[in-house]
Symmetry: C2
Subunit: 304 residues, 2 copies
């Protein structure tokens, strides 16, 4: 068990309030009068969640986007956020970070309400947290609600950000749509709002299609089969569409598309691609181009 | 202007929503239906906000307490919090941190609802943020509301934590009430709830009596005179009650008592000590034992 898993086990003992969802979801749900608030918080660390060479404006954008994506996955409207920021010791770096953060916030109508700014001792990695608050307009689809027979869909192709990251690791000056997918993910707020009344279960794909689908299945007490891995033309142009390329795309993180379970009688109310189905049992099965494929050793990004 | 001041200037451009209070207060106020939510977030960094030798359980306690203190200063009832935690690489340290955090949270009926756990690269300082949400039951006293003629009160003596920190710097094994004041501050939630319907302005004293009183005066567009610096018997036993000892106590941070402005016709509804008064004009004046005293060069803990 990793250090993070051990820590989460201890955290769950503290997080006994029903609003905490047993820390099984990416969000907490707090009932305030007649309103259901969705609360989420994400931290990014230099060298862990982004490359030290990534432009600060893109890092600021991404910090906002990953939190907005968690709201999107619950169909929530952004209400506000708080920023915890460790000054980098470089004013122009900090200003560019805020510019990118502000761009993502204003694009998605998320007001910045407060937070805290600190100095880190010399030599510490940059780190930043954003805590976002949203308002759920209707039912809140959790990870736990998938049902046997449900179809699994995703709002877009997978793996673009992962290839973008690989391209940047090889050459920090790389550019193009795959690099953009890695640096400027788009939170699917409109899609989330349209899907939340219908989806039995929903989450954003932050750690990879395979691992996130298997988490949804586990939380719902079901088995899941992935029988299609959607690739973008941009990814196919670089990596092709071999079985290995498809598996790599489904293991890569940072997609931030929405993954959701719908009953087979419903058509998705948004553009989405069917990727599999749920059935009684447990575990993840993978079918590529009609053939059952052994699972790779690593399903995706494992925290800690 | 410090790096933090420059950064805050940029942040204020982003934080234009009325709920952000222009980042003038320690909290944001978000109206949700008929409920006013109080939002606050504090980050603590090893070597900046606490000594590397401080026991982890005390650091966990303090992170909860400083956030609860911000809620107390607005008369808010704790509703929940989210923790952003950077794993230390030492499981027993992390477990002890959570134990102290959990102790403070359960003591003050603050549920832990979620958050995020990350790994930091080797060599980075430990850091942790807590974002707290409270519900205001009535009027929310801001920093800005003091009126000329108001009396200024504080809920307890000042400087204990500062001396406790000095004692620990000299000897990491020091103990006693002054060390406890530094390591285990007590958020004044009950006092805050009783005071909020009456106080024209209120804040917690986190950076020192002199600087925090001058911030309240500046936010209210007034002058403030501090004419009494309350010392505890424990502090007097170590430092005496000389003018220098009094000034040092009023410059020290980490008190977490509530500082509030009341009209002269009202008696405080809680145990509190009068420390001064507001008048037309601007700036801070200091009177000790009846004599006007020149202000020290450093009024308190200046961030950044």
């Amino acid at each position: 068990m990793s250090a993070e898993s051990r820590f989460l086990t201890l955290l769950r003992l503290l997080a006994s309030d029903p609003a905490a969802q047993g820390l099984q979801d990416d969000v907490a749900i707090l009932q305030v009068g007649g309103t259901r608030l969705i609360l989420t918080s994400d931290t990014m660390v230099e060298g862990v969640h982004h490359l030290p060479t990534d432009p600060p404006a893109d890092i600021g954008w991404k910090l906002a986007a990953v939190n907005l994506s968690d709201l999107a996955a619950k169909g929530a409207r952004p209400m506000g956020c708080l920023l915890n920021y460790a000054l980098s010791g470089d004013d122009s770096w900090d200003a560019a970070f805020l510019e990118g953060l502000g761009e993502a916030l204003s694009r998605h109508a998320m007001p910045l309400l407060g937070g805290d700014t600190v100095q880190m001792p010399a030599g510490s990695a940059r780190s930043y947290s954003l805590t976002a608050i949203g308002e759920a307009s209707g039912p809140v689809p959790l990870r736990t609600g998938a049902q046997a027979g449900d179809r699994l869909y995703i709002t877009g192709p997978v793996g673009d950000a992962g290839v973008g990251l690989d391209l940047l690791r090889a050459d920090a000056r790389a550019s193009g749509p795959l690099v953009d997918a890695y640096r400027r993910p788009k939170p699917r707020l409109a899609e989330g709002a349209l899907l939340s009344p219908h989806a039995h279960a929903m989450m954003d794909v932050s750690d990879g299609l395979l691992i996130d689908a298997s988490r949804m299945a586990q939380a719902s007490g079901l088995a899941v089969t992935i029988d299609h891995i959607p690739l973008s033309p941009a990814l196919e142009a670089v990596r092709g569409a071999s079985t290995a390329a498809q598996i790599a795309a489904a293991q890569a993180g940072d997609d931030y598309e929405l993954l959701f379970a719908l009953p087979p009688t419903l058509k998705p109310p948004v553009r989405a691609i069917p990727v599999g189905y749920f059935s009684e049992g447990s575990g993840l099965s993978l079918v590529i181009d009609g053939a059952a494929i052994p699972l790779p050793a690593r399903l995706g990004w494992e925290h800690g």
